[in-house]
Amino acid sequence: MYIFSGGSIMDIIKKKTGTELLVKVVGRLDTNTAPDLESSVLPDFKTCKKLILELGELDYISSAGLRVILTFYKMLSADGKTMVVKHVNDEVMEVFDMTGFSSFLVFEE
């Protein structure tokens, strides 16, 4: 699903295997695109036990993007479910590090 919003482009690719939901986010996750990621993924939470956020091709994340990821993390943790963030590039990891998000997110290569 391509999202072109307010000059930002983001692509979301979702794949569900059993109770595992893989969400690949490509492009920019910012004020314009973050609400679309939230509305696209949240409905799947009822049936998902593990969320894998594949961020290998995410070029940029802003505070709005961080807040959506925090929402995912909080909702899943509250239900005893897990979230894993994969293949984060150096630029995005820098944002996770400086904000302290790295201290609670679970990363995988």
Binding site: M93, T99, G100
Partner: protein
């Protein structure tokens, strides 16, 4: 199987659903006590005697029972607490909420003579009072009796091992074995009291530490996990987080600071005063460092880890400990990761731009 015992077994089959209802009510009631007390217990178990087990019991002593209602252990519940004084709390709740058949209930502690040691436990024979549950179509639910056992985990250990010997009562046990078992019962009774005493001491200590931390007298308090938590509860690093948050008018998201306890111990802090001095003395540098990190970035959210992490970074750099220690810090806080090395170098570079860590040794070898 004689006809009388068969009659009781038929009654059992007819009433099995009522026992299942009793089991559910009892379990829910016992679990609600745990909620009320606010402490954990080792286990709450309930079970219904199987048909085969009842058949075996009736074969041995079926003559003792007129009807199924005379058998008091068809449904049984057991609470195993961690501490022996918690048994008393459960006992009080059970006595207050269930109908108790006192004639058949046993407090094993009262049976033992003062110079005897052995099984200490409470066995209540109860029934469900109408105020707890009543179904006019099934009045038998309030008539069947059942047993609730209360034990501490050490009493449970002793009873389980004693049971494993296969003897039904002490008279069957060889004298030397019985003596060894009873000696052990005495030892466990002492241990039970000692565990309760340790818990009481710990609770007292935590209360005391909280009061001292509140009073601000940090010098007299050793840095341990309890005093650290009291320090955090008392505001801890909120000042530095608030200061950093002013940079981009950032929102501060709560986060666990547990991992930093290990860091502070590694940095050689022995008292809360060491920790508080560290937080106060490095506050300005940490703010400066954060300005260089955040200024101009589209980031308006941080977690509570940002303050203590930044304080640690500037402290390590100002003490010329070098990039390797920064990497060690990141390994501890984030777990070992490939990019901790790059990040440590980046933080060291920011520090150097502030005039920090310029005399550090080891950086060259690392790079």
């Amino acid at each position: 199987m004689d006809l009388h015992s068969q009659f009781i077994l038929d009654q059992y089959k007819e009433n099995i659903n009522s026992f299942k209802t009793i089991e559910k009510i009892v379990k829910k009631e016992l679990e609600s006590y745990v909620q009320d007390f606010g402490f954990l217990v080792n286990s709450i178990e309930t079970r219904i005697k199987t048909y085969d087990s009842l058949e075996g019991k009736l074969e041995l002593k079926g003559y003792k029972y007129q009807t199924l209602k005379d058998i008091t252990d068809i449904m049984g519940g057991r609470v195993v607490t961690f501490y022996n004084d918690q048994v008393e709390l459960f006992a009080a709740k059970i006595e207050a909420n269930f109908d108790i058949d006192w004639e058949n209930s046993v407090d094993k502690r009262r049976i033992l003579k003062l110079d005897q040691f052995g099984y200490l436990s409470r066995h209540y024979i109860c029934s469900i009072p109408k105020k707890m549950y009543f179904d006019p179509e099934h009045p038998e639910i309030n008539e069947f009796r059942f047993e609730i056992q209360l034990r501490s985990i050490l009493q449970h250990t002793w009873a389980s091992i004693h049971h494993d010997t296969g003897y039904k009562n002490d008279i069957e046990v060889p004298r030397d074995i019985l003596r060894a078992l009873n000696r052990l019962a005495g030892l466990l009774e002492l241990a039970d009291d000692a565990f309760s005493s340790i818990r009481n001491q710990l609770e007292d200590y935590r209360r005391r530490v909280k009061q001292i931390v509140k009073s601000g007298d940090f010098e007299s308090v050793d840095l341990d996990f309890d005093s650290y938590n009291a320090y955090l509860d008392n505001g801890g690093f909120s000042e530095i987080n608030k200061k950093i948050a002013t940079i981009n008018n950032m929102e501060i998201e709560p986060a666990s600071l547990r991992v930093f306890f290990e860091v502070f111990k590694s940095l050689g802090f022995h008292t809360l005063k060491d920790l508080d001095d560290f937080a106060k003395n490095n506050s300005y540098l940490a703010y400066e460092f954060a300005v260089r990190q955040f200024a101009g970035k589209d980031v308006d959210i941080i977690t509570e880890t940002t303050g203590p992490l930044t304080l640690c970074i500037v402290y390590i750099l100002s003490q010329d400990m070098g990039v390797n220690i920064i990497k060690l810090l990141l390994d501890t806080v984030y777990g070992p990761r490939k990019n901790n090395d790059t990040l440590a170098k980046k933080y060291t570079a920011i520090g150097k731009s502030m005039g920090l860590g310029i005399h550090a040794s080891g950086d060259e070898q690392h790079e």
